[in-house]
């Protein structure tokens, strides 16, 4: 359909306004991170960017966050996905309660979860050890609604009952059915879920800050108090990294999963 002059004018006004809103702060980050700081600098400098690598706290925090993300992904792969498949296959009566449980975190803000988990976390840290596992446990629950949405969409799209029956008839064990047959068929859903998991873990601040666990975001905030330029450079770098991740994950439906915030 050909667009009238008025529509096009409106369209471009909206686009330029929103684009300015979203892009100017991002450009400002770049501008700020190349500003001279200290007495040695004259004019623009990339010193803040080169200093990223020499921040021991930061590198430790990045690896800590990545380990946490890996544990979250393992929990998704070996616990949440198999349970979702199991419920679909064997316990159709539990589907509704399972769905409700998975959507529960939507009603509970992260800050409230922290309030509830703080005593347990403190107890575990004192009596067992302070490890990313506890944090990963909380995160895997926080992202449950998103994981569930992309999983159940994928499970609904395939007739897993026929697959399971065929595999069992041919002699496959139940673990083979879940991990060898069904999981590969819903790969897209799992990849979607995992992508959201990584993005969320790397961007999480509320819980780790209050529980005093020095994750990526917490350390960026810390650096920001000492050296704004470096903190801004790190933030921009990590943003670019996430965009890069998004572009290299080669799934057609990826976009749909990130869109999948609707619940009902």
């Amino acid at each position: 359909m050909k667009q009238s002059m008025g529509v096009r004018l409106w369209r471009w006004t909206i686009i330029s306004f929103v684009a300015l809103y979203l892009l100017v702060p991002l450009y400002a980050m770049f501008d700020f991170s190349t500003k001279p700081f200290g007495f040695a600098d004259k004019g623009r400098t990339f010193r803040a960017w080169t200093m990223i690598a020499s921040q021991p706290d930061l590198l430790a925090a990045i690896s800590r966050s990545l380990i946490t993300a890996a544990i979250v992904m393992a929990l998704i792969l070996f616990m949440i996905v198999p349970t979702a498949i199991w419920v679909h296959l064997k316990l159709p009566g539990l589907r509704r309660p399972f769905e409700l449980l998975c959507l529960l975190p939507l009603a509970i803000p992260a800050i409230v979860i922290v309030v509830g988990i703080a005593p347990l976390y403190r107890w575990i840290s004192i009596n067992i050890s302070e490890s990313p596992i506890t944090l990963a446990g909380v995160y895997s629950m926080l992202i449950l609604p998103y994981t569930y949405r992309s999983l159940s969409a994928a499970l609904d799209a395939v007739d897993i009952h026929t697959l399971a029956e065929a595999a069992t008839t041919l002699g496959a064990s139940i673990s083979r059915v879940i991990f060898g047959i069904i999981m590969p068929t819903i790969k897209t859903g799992i990849v979607n879920g995992s992508f959201i998991a990584i993005a969320l873990v790397l961007g999480e601040y509320t819980i780790s800050n209050i529980l005093n666990f020095k994750t990526f975001q917490v350390v960026i905030a810390q650096i920001g108090r000492q050296n704004g330029n470096v903190a801004v450079a790190v933030s921009l770098a990590s943003l670019l990294f996430v965009i890069f991740l998004l572009l290299i994950i080669p799934t057609k439906k990826r976009q749909g999963a990130v869109l999948d915030v609707d619940v009902a």
Binding site: P105, Y205, I220
Partner: protein
């Protein structure tokens, strides 16, 4: 929603047995520990004092405290503002995306960028806006040079309601794009053609067809944005140092306060009020979604 194609009809009798329930046990234990226990802890803790005795004193204390009320009102105001502005701008932007070439570069870039920026809250967002409007920031240093008497030259406005609203709207717009774009794409061009063919004007199409169809999904999106900013903590925490400004900040202070000693019962009571608001809004959202999914076919 969420009704599957296969509903466990074929061969389920063969599968079904009591021992099948053991399969969900690990997940149940895990979610019990990390999800149900914290939830229960907050709900039950809200009606206990700090010694674990049943009492509604803290709950009513919090309810009547002017500080808590002020923070709560601020939280509600901020969420309502950014939900409305975010929904309007995001909705319009989604419309601009939907009217472009489907699958074109602009479409792809906007959607990809939206899905990243919708998550771009917290520390990094604060830095981005400090680099823009903060002391020595990009816009403010330009303003000092060229518009020295405007509010842009003096960055104090950033550290209050106005600043927070502007920061929050930054992630609300892309979220609205993600939520609203699918509905816009479901508007069939045939409807417009039918309206045109019957002699309808553009405004008549929007008034009689477009807006009635889009309204439930638009309002639903706005409700989602409301919850999104109502629950947000990280951005506010890194931008302003006022512990009583918003309810999430107040909760964090009550929980971790290093000066006055922590007060978990207060944190739980405050949390309870937050959860009540979120549950009300999310139920409205669920009702609206049901209405939307009646006519919107699944993608």
């Amino acid at each position: 929603m969420g009704t599957g194609s296969a509903n466990g009809r074929t061969g389920s009798r063969y599968w079904r047995s009591k021992s099948a329930y053991l399969g969900v046990l690990p997940f149940l234990l895990f979610s019990g520990l990390f999800l149900l226990y914290p939830t229960w802890n907050v709900v039950s803790g809200a009606v206990q004092d700090n010694n674990g005795k049943f009492s509604t004193t803290v709950l009513s204390e919090v309810f009547n405290s002017p500080v808590a009320r002020h923070a709560f009102a601020n939280s509600l105001e901020l969420s309502a503002r950014t939900a409305i502005v975010g929904a309007l701008l995001g909705g319009l932007f989604a419309w601009a995306i939907a009217t472009g070439k489907p699958g074109g570069v602009f479409y792809k870039v906007s959607v990809a960028l939206s899905s990243v920026l919708a998550q771009f809250g917290g520390v990094m967002l604060t830095f981005a806006f400090l680099a823009t409007f903060g002391f020595n920031g990009l816009v403010s240093s330009l303003a000092v040079k060229f518009l020295p008497n405007t509010f842009l030259a003096d960055s104090t406005w950033l550290y209050g309601m106005t600043g927070l609203s502007i920061l929050y709207t930054f992630f609300q717009i892309p979220l609205m794009v993600l939520v609203f774009l699918p509905t816009l794409e479901n508007l069939k061009p045939q409807w417009r053609e039918a309206s045109d063919a019957l002699g309808g004007k553009a405004y008549e199409y929007w008034l009689r067809v477009g807006i009635p169809i889009l309204t439930p999904s638009f309002v639903g999106g706005a409700l989602l944005l409301f919850v999104n900013s109502f629950s947000a903590y990280a951005t506010a925490n890194t931008l302003i140092n006022l512990s009583d400004f918003l309810t999430p900040l107040e909760i964090a202070t009550a929980l971790t306060s290093e000066t006055g000693g922590s007060n978990p019962a207060e944190a739980k009571s405050l949390s309870m009020f937050m959860v009540i608001v979120v549950i009300i809004v999310m139920s409205l959202y669920a009702l609206l979604r049901r209405k939307v999914s009646k006519w919107e076919q699944k993608r």
